[in-house]
Subunit: 206 residues, 4 copies
DNA sequence: TATGAATGAGAGTTCATTCAT
DNA sequence: CATGAATGAACTCTCATTCAT
């Protein structure tokens, strides 16, 4: 009656993981379904038992990385502390993320997806991934910190939206640079320097 | 030497320009040699008279964009002014670049090349483009400004290398975000806010 | 002999019925083994317990339809009536068949099998279905009617083989046209008109 | 300047002819693009220089056969003759068509296209070929002959639409049977017998 | 020199069939 | 027996590159 029992979700995860591995190594364009199949240790046709198409597989891979990423960055903002301390925590998280278990290769994959999205945006195509929504989420979170800090009079009256954007984007920028030059670029040091400057830059009276 | 050589260079430029136009519209992956030929108003086979391969053509296209970009950003740092003023000039240049004649589409192309480079770096391949060198050049330039400022006692004693890197990368980060969300993202406002915070963050006594 | 054998036949029938249902809906080319399995409410692999291959299953399906069809057309030619009356009975049977319980979809399936056969014939392949034999059977039956009629002097001295063939083929031709244009084609009317002309055409003295 | 000059239409025709040859031999389902390419003596990719897709190629092949067919059947109805003579001419054309230069293989191809159409009709899909229109055209032409004959009192008052349909469909039916049994089926004889019966069947007073 | 017709390796995808459970 | 997960050959179609003209 019951033949081989397969945990479909487990298998999907296996395939997705294999896909991410290949994507990290070969990039979006150069990753062939056959490569993924081989990496997953299965036949080419089997992929299509679990995913309708290359696009679907890659979309799931993207979501998978995002979830993983979001786990890492689960912003548990400390309560009952000063705004400055909260921002310090956020900035130090950047470093910890960079040195954490989150595979750095995955950033590269994420970046490629992102670029694909940028291209779609540019060509007026329907976007596959709602990266903007993800950004907004983070930015809104950080923005609230600034808003409270301003309200409480703990920091200068800067534009909270802009400040939050800057905080997010400096991380992206540095990640990209690091990808290009893993050997000699001092990620942690640069983040620390940034933190010092930024904190000082928003403090009330210096 | 002979007029022919001029012709060849002229033709190469025509083709490169066409390639960039198509690249900006279609992206790296979706740009076919045929598209480029059509855009250049020549035959498909003629491309191969001037460029050995797609890769070579795209490499030249990349270099072409970089030159164009470098013209725009030709950092004519003002002399005999305070470090702070110099930095203000650099930051305001970011906005001007964003609104300048440098076609914004080309940033996208540049970004794609960059990613290609990142991927190459990751795979241990020979890098096609020497982006890192370009970055270094800019960073060294800005770094010198910080070093002088520190030496003169005009700004705090921060790590000049890091500070320069931050300045470069915030621009990249914001450009990327802007590409993703051209409509609602306030590029200039964010840069201005950043400038305010950054300047204050490096000033001697706040 | 053993109850199992009955089970097997029963199951085969179930599968065959399911196959015909799918064939009627999707056509020969578009019917997948998986569709048949699903329609039969069994697993894909189970099909191969009962049929060696897709071809074998379809062959059995064809035979099944033919049997069903033959039941419908079981030419119980009336005895002790005039040849003309017999022919009228045959012609009216065409209409009744068209409006009878014999699922009209099955004609389509039959037609597809037929074409497959024509193709096989053309390629010198071994024919899968013995359609010609079936035709012969019917034609011989009808031919005998004409022969008797001629012998008895009730109808003109026409070629009985040809006349029988015409009678069979007009039905096929009209069925095909009807399939192409179910909405506006008047099957019964056309058959009736044909009957009138044909009967008059073979009568002794008009 | 001008490279190889190719008559696109001529080449298209060559490919279409090759396609029809293969279609006649292998059938709609079994004809692969590679087969067609081989038959045309060109590379697989070249097909796509002239036809966007398999469907398009096959559609053109169909139209090509139809044109060829229509040339053959160009009903030049004789003028100033009796209706009976006209009908005799039509019927004798059936035989001449069958023995004419019109490649009989092409009927098979046509029939397959037709069946595809029937299937499309059945599944409510958009029809690719407008076969019904072609039939209508012929039927209307023949119908007019009957109408005039009835008006002039030369033939019995039968339903002209039905009579025309019968005339067309008997040809189709016999062609199909002939395809199934090229060796022993007497096409011409059967048509002649039909002619005799039909003419007598519609005559005024027999 | 300029061309574009021709190409074929290789991409994504399908599906009849197998076989471990 | 029954199953459906796994498979890979084979399909349609793409496109960088070649080469006869």
């Amino acid at each position: 009656m019951s033949p081989k029992i397969v945990d479909v979700d487990e298998k999907k995860k296996q395939i997705t993981d294999a896909a991410i591995r290949v994507l990290a190594r070969k990039g979006l364009k150069e990753t062939k379904m056959e490569d993924v199949a081989e990496a997953a240790g299965i036949g080419k046709g089997t992929l299509y038992e679990y995913f309708k198409s290359k696009d679907e597989l890659f979309l799931v891979a993207y979501r998978h990385i995002m979830e993983e990423f979001e786990c890492q960055t689960d912003l548990k903002l400390p309560e009952n502390v000063t705004t400055i301390d909260t921002l310090k925590a956020i900035i130090s998280m950047m470093t910890s993320m960079h040195t954490s278990d989150f595979p750095l290769d995955h950033f590269q994959v994420l970046t490629e997806f992102w670029l694909e999205e940028v291209k779609s945006a540019n060509q007026g195509k329907k976007r596959q991934f709602d990266m903007l929504a993800t950004y907004r989420e983070y930015i809104d979170l950080v923005k609230a910190v600034f808003e409270q800090g301003i309200q409480k009079g703990e920091i200068r009256d800067i534009n909270p939206e802009h400040a939050a954007t800057i905080l997010m984007m400096i991380f992206d920028g540095l990640m990209l640079l690091w990808m290009l030059d893993k050997n000699s670029f001092d990620f942690k040091g640069t983040v620390d320097t940034f933190g010092g400057i930024f904190i000082k830059g928003i403090q009330k009276q210096g």
